[in-house]
C-alpha cells in the first residue's frame, strides 16, 4: 500500500508522485451541437462523444511525468454514465496504470454540477491519497472552469490552475508550475499534495498505439457509486431553458471612418 510521506521527502529520491487524473466524457468537439426541441438541453443521443480535450492533455502530462520518473503511478478517474468507461479505456491506452469509474445513474446525469464532481473526487482522494491531482481546466460542454478550484478548496490543498508547464521546483521539494494568466505567464511553486489544472499549451497528447489499445483491456478498472462515497447529488441549480445563439446577421461595409462612427451612433452603440 502506498504510504503518504511525500510532503517531507525529496521528490527525486522517492518512488515518484502518485497522480490522479480526471477525465470527462463530452460531446466531441467536431460535432455540430443541436438544441433539443423542448429546449431542456442539447441532443446527446447517438451523438459522437470523446474525452474532454483538456483532460487528454492532463492524461498526457501524467504519462509524461511517469516516463520522466517524476511519477510512479498514474490513476484515471471519470464521473459519468456507463459509457465513461470508454473514456477511461482511452486514458489506459495512453499509458495510465489503472482507472476508477464513479457511475452516475442516467436520471441524475443532466443535473450533475461541478460541486458534486469535486465532492466525489475529494472523497476518492481521501482513500487514494494522491500527491497530485491533474484536471482539465474546464470541460468543453459546460465551460464551467470550477471543478479543480473547488476540489482544492474542499481538500484544503494548494492549487495551480491553467498550467502550461509542470516541473520540480529548484529544491525538488515542490512543484514549479507556469500558469497562463491574462497578463502573461506566472510561475509559482506549490507544495504537494496539490491540484493542478491543465491548459492548452501544456503538451500535445499522443494518440494511443494499437498494441496499447489492446493492452488497456487488461488494466484494472474499478467501479464506484456516489452512495458508496456518501455524496449527495441533490442539484443546486435548475436549467430553465437552452437556446441557440442568435443567427449572425449580415454586416455592412462602410467607406470611411466617419461613416463607421455615424453608423455606430445610429445604432446607439456610441454616444
Amino acid at each position: 500500500k502506498y504510504i503518504h510521506i511525500i510532503n517531507k521527502a525529496d521528490m527525486a529520491a522517492s518512488k515518484g508522485l502518485k497522480i490522479l487524473v480526471g477525465c470527462k466524457r463530452v460531446i466531441d468537439y467536431a460535432v455540430k451541437v443541436r438544441v433539443k426541441p423542448d429546449r431542456s438541453g442539447v441532443v446527446t443521443e447517438g451523438v459522437k462523444h470523446s474525452m474532454n480535450p483538456f483532460d487528454e492533455i492532463a492524461v498526457e502530462e501524467a504519462v509524461r511525468m511517469k516516463e520522466k520518473k517524476l511519477a510512479g503511478e498514474a490513476v484515471a478517474i471519470s464521473v459519468g454514465p456507463p459509457q465513461s468507461q470508454e473514456t477511461l479505456r482511452t486514458a489506459l491506452a495512453m499509458g495510465i496504470d489503472r482507472a476508477i469509474h464513479v457511475e452516475i445513474p442516467l436520471a441524475q446525469l443532466e443535473k450533475l454540477q461541478p460541486i458534486h464532481v469535486s465532492k466525489l473526487l475529494a472523497k476518492v482522494c481521501e482513500s487514494e491519497k494522491p500527491d497530485l491531482v491533474i484536471l482539465g481546466k474546464q470541460a468543453i460542454d459546460d465551460d464551467c472552469n470550477q471543478t479543480g478550484q473547488m476540489l482544492a478548496a474542499l481538500l484544503d490543498w494548494p492549487q495551480a490552475t491553467f498550467a502550461s508547464k509542470i516541473e520540480p521546483s529548484q529544491d525538488s521539494k515542490q512543484l514549479r508550475v507556469t500558469r497562463e494568466v491574462d497578463g502573461g505567464l506566472e510561475t509559482i511553486d506549490v507544495s504537494v499534495p496539490a491540484v493542478v489544472t491543465s491548459d492548452l499549451r501544456l503538451n500535445e497528447p499522443r494518440y494511443a498505439t494499437l498494441p496499447n489499445i489492446m493492452k488497456a483491456k487488461k488494466k484494472p478498472l474499478a467501479k464506484m457509486s456516489p452512495d458508496q462515497l456518501g455524496v449527495d447529488l441533490q442539484p443546486r441549480q435548475e436549467v430553465i431553458s437552452v437556446e441557440d445563439p442568435p443567427v449572425r446577421k449580415a454586416g455592412a461595409k462602410v467607406e470611411s471612418v466617419e461613416d463607421l462612427v455615424g453608423k455606430l451612433r445610429e445604432k446607439g452603440l456610441v454616444k
Binding site: 494518440y207 494511443a208 494499437l210 483491456k217
Partner: protein, 431 residues
C-alpha cells in the same frame, strides 16, 4: 486468434485451381454461400477496441496525411518510408499479422474497420499504397514463409522500416495471371530472375517486392508452376525503368520494372515451390473486401459534401439542392452505399467465423468498383464547372475511383467468379 485456423491448414496439392473450386462448391448450394452456420450478428462486429483504433488512425490521417495530400498529388509521389514508419509505430501495419513478428494477431474485422477509416484520406493513392503494405504484399509471407525470411522481410515491413510492393502483373498479363512470363530458374543455391513487372504500386520507392514468377519449368499446369519470392530491389539487374503517369492515384508511384539475371538465394522462396499462385489466391478474399471497405466512407463524405455544395449554390432563383432531381438522386446513391456497407460487414463476419466468402467478397468488389464510378460521376455533375476543376475533391475522387473496377481483380474477373458459383460459366473451349 479467431477464424485464422482454417487458413493455416497445410496446402493439399490440387490438380488445378478450377477443380479445387468445384470440389468446395459441390457441398454448397449454388447461390446462398457455402456455409450451414447461422447468419453472424454483424451488430457485434465492431467493439470499443475497433473504435479506439479508428480514432488513432483518424488522428494520424488528420495530422500526418491530409495536410500533405495536395502536395503529394502534385509531386506524384508520397514519402512512403516516413509515413509507413509513423503507421508502423502506431501498430497499424500488422494488425492481422503474427505477434511473433511485431503484429497484433487480430482477426480480419480489425482490418475492415481500419480500411473504412482510410476513406477519410483526401485521395485514393495513399490508402492504396498503405493497403499494399499492410494487406497485399505480406499475407503469403506471414503464413508460409520460413522464420528467417519473416525476420528479414516481414518484421521490418510491419514496423514500417521497409517499403513493400507486390509483383504480380506484367505488361502482357494483368487479369490473366497464369500467363505471366517472368522466370526464376534454379542455379546452384540461387534463383536467377528474368522478366518484367508492370503497374507496381510503390514500385519506385519499395525496398523489396513479393514477386510471382515461373519456377517449375517441368510443370504443365500454369497454376502450379509459379512461386512467390522475396526480392530485394537494390540488387544488380533490377531496373526501375519508369514511373508510369496515370489519370488518377497521382500520389502513389506506379512503376514498371525489369529484371535481368537478378540473383537471390533460393531460400528467398516463400513456402513450397510451385504454390505461389495458390498462396496469392488465398488472400484474394481479404484483398477484395479491403477494396470495398476502403471506399465506403469516402463515398458517404462526397455525397454529403455535394449536398452541402448544392445547398449553397444558387441557380434559377433557388438553391440547387432544392431541385428534386438533386436531393432524390443523392438519397438513391447513399442508399446504395449503405447496401454495400451491409454486404461488406456480412462477408467480414462470415469470414471471421471461419467461412469461405469468395463469392460475397467478389460481389462486394464488383459492386464497389461500379458504385464508385456511379457516385463520383453523379456528384461531379452537380458540382458543375467546379467539378471539372482541380480545386475540388470530387474531381480527384472521380479520377482515383476509376481504378477500382480494374485493379485488384477487374470487374470481369469478379463476374466470372460469381458465374462459377452460379454454375453458369461455360466450360473452357477444348484445345
Amino acid at each position: 486468434t479467431v477464424g485464422r485456423s482454417f487458413l493455416c491448414r497445410p496446402v493439399v496439392p490440387y490438380s488445378s485451381v478450377s477443380n479445387a473450386m468445384r470440389r468446395s462448391l459441390s457441398s454448397a448450394s449454388p447461390m446462398s454461400g457455402s456455409d450451414a452456420s447461422a447468419e453472424p450478428n454483424t451488430d457485434k462486429l465492431f467493439t470499443a477496441e475497433h473504435e479506439a483504433m479508428r480514432s488513432t488512425l483518424r488522428r494520424i490521417i488528420e495530422q500526418d496525411i491530409n495536410p500533405y495530400v495536395d502536395e503529394w498529388e502534385a509531386k506524384e509521389i508520397f514519402p512512403a518510408k516516413q509515413l509507413f514508419k509513423k503507421l508502423g509505430n502506431a501498430g497499424l501495419l500488422g494488425v492481422t499479422r503474427p505477434v511473433e513478428y511485431g503484429g497484433l494477431g487480430l482477426d480480419y474485422s480489425y482490418s475492415v474497420a481500419l480500411a473504412e477509416e482510410y476513406g477519410r484520406v483526401n485521395c485514393g493513392g495513399v490508402p492504396m499504397a498503405i493497403g499494399v503494405q499492410s494487406d497485399m504484399a505480406t499475407p503469403a509471407l506471414a503464413r508460409f514463409g520460413s522464420h528467417e525470411l519473416k525476420e528479414q522481410f516481414l518484421r521490418p515491413s510491419i514496423a514500417g522500416d521497409l517499403v513493400a510492393c507486390l509483383g504480380v502483373s506484367e505488361p502482357t498479363a494483368g487479369s490473366d495471371v497464369a500467363s505471366i512470363k517472368t522466370t526464376a530458374r534454379r542455379d546452384g543455391d540461387d534463383l536467377v530472375i528474368n522478366g518484367s513487372k508492370m503497374w507496381i504500386t510503390s514500385g519506385m520507392q519499395a525496398d523489396w517486392m513479393c514477386l510471382l514468377a515461373n519456377t517449375e519449368a517441368s510443370v504443365k499446369d500454369p497454376y502450379l508452376s509459379k512461386s512467390l519470392i522475396c526480392l530485394p530491389l537494390d540488387l544488380p539487374g533490377v531496373q526501375r525503368a519508369r514511373k508510369i503517369r496515370k489519370i488518377g492515384m497521382h500520389s502513389s508511384d506506379t512503376a514498371q520494372l525489369f529484371f535481368e539475371n537478378v540473383r537471390v538465394p533460393a531460400s528467398y522462396l516463400i513456402g513450397e515451390p510451385g504454390q505461389g499462385f495458390i498462396y496469392q489466391m488465398l488472400q484474394f478474399q481479404e484483398e477484395r473486401l479491403f477494396g470495398a471497405a476502403a471506399n465506403l466512407l469516402g463515398l458517404e463524405l462526397i455525397i454529403q459534401e455535394t449536398a452541402e455544395y448544392a445547398r449553397q449554390r444558387k441557380a434559377f432563383g433557388q438553391s440547387l439542392l432544392d431541385f428534386q432531381t438533386v436531393h432524390f438522386r443523392l438519397a438513391e446513391l447513399l442508399t446504395e452505399v449503405e447496401l454495400l456497407r451491409s454486404m461488406v460487414y456480412r462477408a467480414t463476419a462470415k469470414y471471421v467465423a471461419g467461412n469461405d466468402v469468395t463469392m460475397l467478397a467478389s460481389m462486394a468488389k464488383l459492386k464497389a468498383g461500379r458504385l464508385v464510378r456511379e457516385v463520383t460521376d453523379s456528384c461531379l455533375q452537380y458540382w458543375g464547372g467546379m467539378g471539372f476543376t482541380d480545386e475540388v475533391r470530387v474531381s480527384r475522387f472521380y479520377r482515383d475511383g476509376r481504378l477500382l473496377s480494374i485493379g485488384a481483380g477487374a470487374d470481369e474477373v469478379m463476374l466470372s467468379i460469381i458465374c462459377k458459383y452460379m454454375r453458369t460459366l461455360p466450360k473452357p473451349p477444348k484445345k
